[in-house]
């Protein structure tokens, strides 16, 4: 599927061109901001080719023709940025297919236009606030992932309120929570509290822990349910598996 064929007599470029694995690894860092899952795991990446000189072409798809264009724009733009920043990439083309706003999104991202200019007259501002809003949700959902095993093992609200991130058993869920907190500029060091209010960074007191955990759980349930619907829609729409797609 890749176009990495050796062209006889071609001059060697100074830096080695990026490999396809490098580009796929870069795409794995791009998330659906609403679902907080990598676009690869969700099955949104259908093609990724790298020319010998380092020109990359990526094709993306979404569960429906009408998936919200604000989130679609963020994914295409983030994919463009992640691929462009990969060592050995010379040129980048990211194309969203089968979407009602594909032309505006693809053209806008390719021209580095930003969201408001890509939808001239239709969008008021860039999408930073929306992204931050969903990142705060990701922090809450991640809090449930990390805390649920602790609660099951008998941790009391008082104990959870005094735990620091460094005291929680290491694991993927904890790493993910810390990364999301760091992205929002929230404390994420070993000595920082496990439970904080995602909109302010203020630690959660023992008395507020039960409600905080209820909020964390319902936030995760909402995101998981939505992810389930999106995966089901994608499967209905396309029979083939995306690059790096994972069934949960």
């Amino acid at each position: 599927m890749t176009g990495t064929t050796v062209v006889p007599g071609r001059e060697r470029v100074e830096a080695p061109a990026a490999g396809r694995a490098d580009v796929l690894a870069a795409l794995e860092t791009v998330r659906d901001p609403e679902l907080d899952e990598p676009i690869t795991a969700l099955g949104f990446v259908t093609a990724c080719t790298v020319s010998p000189a380092g020109d990359v072409r990526v094709r993306l798809r979404l569960p429906t023709y009408f998936c919200a264009p604000n989130f679609a724009f963020l994914m295409v733009a983030d994919a463009y940025d992640a691929v462009s920043a990969t060592a050995g990439v010379r040129g980048t083309e990211v194309v969203l297919e089968d979407h009602f706003a594909a032309e505006a999104i693809n053209g806008g991202v390719a021209a580095r236009a930003g969201f408001a200019r890509s939808f001239a007259g239709l969008a008021e501002g860039e999408l930073h606030d929306l992204r931050a809003d969903f990142l705060r949700k990701a922090v809450l959902a991640g809090t449930d992932r990390v805390c649920r095993p602790l609660v099951d093992a008998g941790a009391t609200p008082a104990r959870l309120a005094e735990l620091t991130l460094g005291e929680v058993p290491a694991g993927r869920d904890l790493d993910r929570l810390r990364r999301r907190r760091a992205e929002l500029g929230l404390p994420a060091g070993d000595g920082d509290p496990l439970l904080i209010e995602p909109s302010t960074g203020v630690p959660v007191g023992a008395g507020a822990v039960p409600l905080h955990l209820r909020r964390a759980r319902v936030t995760r349930v909402g995101a998981d349910a939505n992810t389930g619907i999106c995966r089901g829609m994608l499967r209905h729409r396309y029979a083939d598996t995306g690059l790096g797609e994972e069934e949960p």
Binding site: L122, G125, D133, P210, L213, R214, A225, G232
Partner: protein
């Protein structure tokens, strides 16, 4: 009515449609949107059991006979509430208008409730049309799409002064149920169409109106849940929840139901099949048989036969003043609604 194990369930389908999305109704020049929209809906149908899937041709335009059989003869529904969706920029005669719905309803007295709609951006003309629809069709409810684009406007919110004029008009005209679409959406760009804070404001300022949040704000049920605990007149419309999750994602369905029962409570949840996306038959049968799949869900509120009777019909019957046969009513009160204090008292 549905009967199982000696229990009789009065079924109100509080969110369903009778649309025409066939090519004969596509607006020239907007065919791609008209086609894309109905294909998107069709993909939702894919989340139901395979034996209930329709070919796209039938899905684009099902007949009156299809509807009467699927909803009433096979689907156990006693009364169905039409929720209109206009989309006249793509569909010449509209996708599923008050007029189209009511014309069918008039042929089958007692079976349907024809809701209408409004959009505050239509100003005085829209108010006149609303009044005319209420007088002509006796509408007691409306379906609202706050995220819909129109003439360069990128949606609206229920807290806009213009929207308050319409809410006041609803009160004067005898409309009591405001169904608000907060869920999977079409046109929002920088707007976040799932934001339910505007419902919070309107529900506080119009305590005599009921606000049914359709699709429960998915994918933001947490925001909806927090809001619903504080507003006694806010309801959870289960359209998409049962149809989209119960079969396709049973574990997530159990969690979503558990959360809604905890935060919103069984007295404020209403069944809607979303027909023609999904037929009610499998939804009603499956929901009556449903329980949490394992002990993993033991800290969610229990679901009883009474809970199911309320959700499938009794709650909506109360909202719409539908007379329920004595054999389907609940004896001994309405159960205990969820309360915000409960959240603070529950141990994690």
């Amino acid at each position: 009515m549905y009967e199982k194990d000696g229990e009789k369930y009065f079924v109100v389908d509080s969110h369903m449609h009778y649309w025409n999305a066939a090519p004969d109704n596509w607006v020239p020049g907007a065919e791609q949107y008209a086609k894309g929209w109905i294909e998107c809906f069709h993909a939702y149908q894919g989340l139901g059991p395979a034996e209930t899937h329709w070919p796209i041709e039938k899905f684009q335009k099902y007949s009156e006979e299809d509807l009467m059989r699927d909803v009433f003869a096979d689907g156990y529904v006693d009364v169905a509430v039409f929720q209109p969706t206009y989309l006249k920029e793509w569909y010449r005669e509209g996708f599923n208008t008050t007029e189209r719905n009511a014309a069918l309803g008039e042929k089958h007295p007692g079976k349907f409730i024809a809701n209408t709609r409004w959009d505050p951006r239509e100003g005085d003309e829209g108010l006149k049309a609303l009044k005319a629809n209420v007088e002509r069709y006796g509408s007691k409810g409306v379906k609202l799409y706050t995220a819909e684009w129109r003439d360069g406007s990128r949606g609206w919110t229920l807290r806009d002064p213009e929207a308050y004029r319409y809410l006041e008009a609803c009160q004067e005209l005898g409309i009591v149920n405001i169904h608000v679409h907060k869920g999977p959406t079409i046109w929002p760009l920088d707007k976040d169409a799932f934001d339910v804070s505007d419902v919070d404001h309107a529900a506080t300022d119009f305590p005599d109106l009921n606000f049914i949040v359709e699709h429960v704000g998915l994918p933001r049920i947490e925001d909806f849940c927090f809001m619903a605990t504080q507003e006694p007149n806010v309801y959870a419309g289960l359209s998409v929840v049962i149809g989209g999750l119960m079969h396709a994602r049973p574990k997530f369905f159990a969690k979503v139901m558990g959360e809604l029962l905890f935060w919103v409570g069984e007295d404020k949840m209403t069944f809607g099949s979303d027909y023609g996306i999904w037929e009610p038959k499998w939804q009603v049968e499956g929901f009556v048989d449903w329980d949490y799949p394992s002990d993993e869900f033991s800290d969610y509120p229990r679901i009883t036969t009474a809970t199911k009777k309320k959700i499938l019909g009794l709650n909506a019957a109360r909202l719409y003043g539908i007379d329920v046969p004595a054999e389907c009513r609940l004896e001994g009160g309405q159960g205990v609604p969820a309360q915000r204090e409960a959240a603070q008292l529950v141990e994690p």
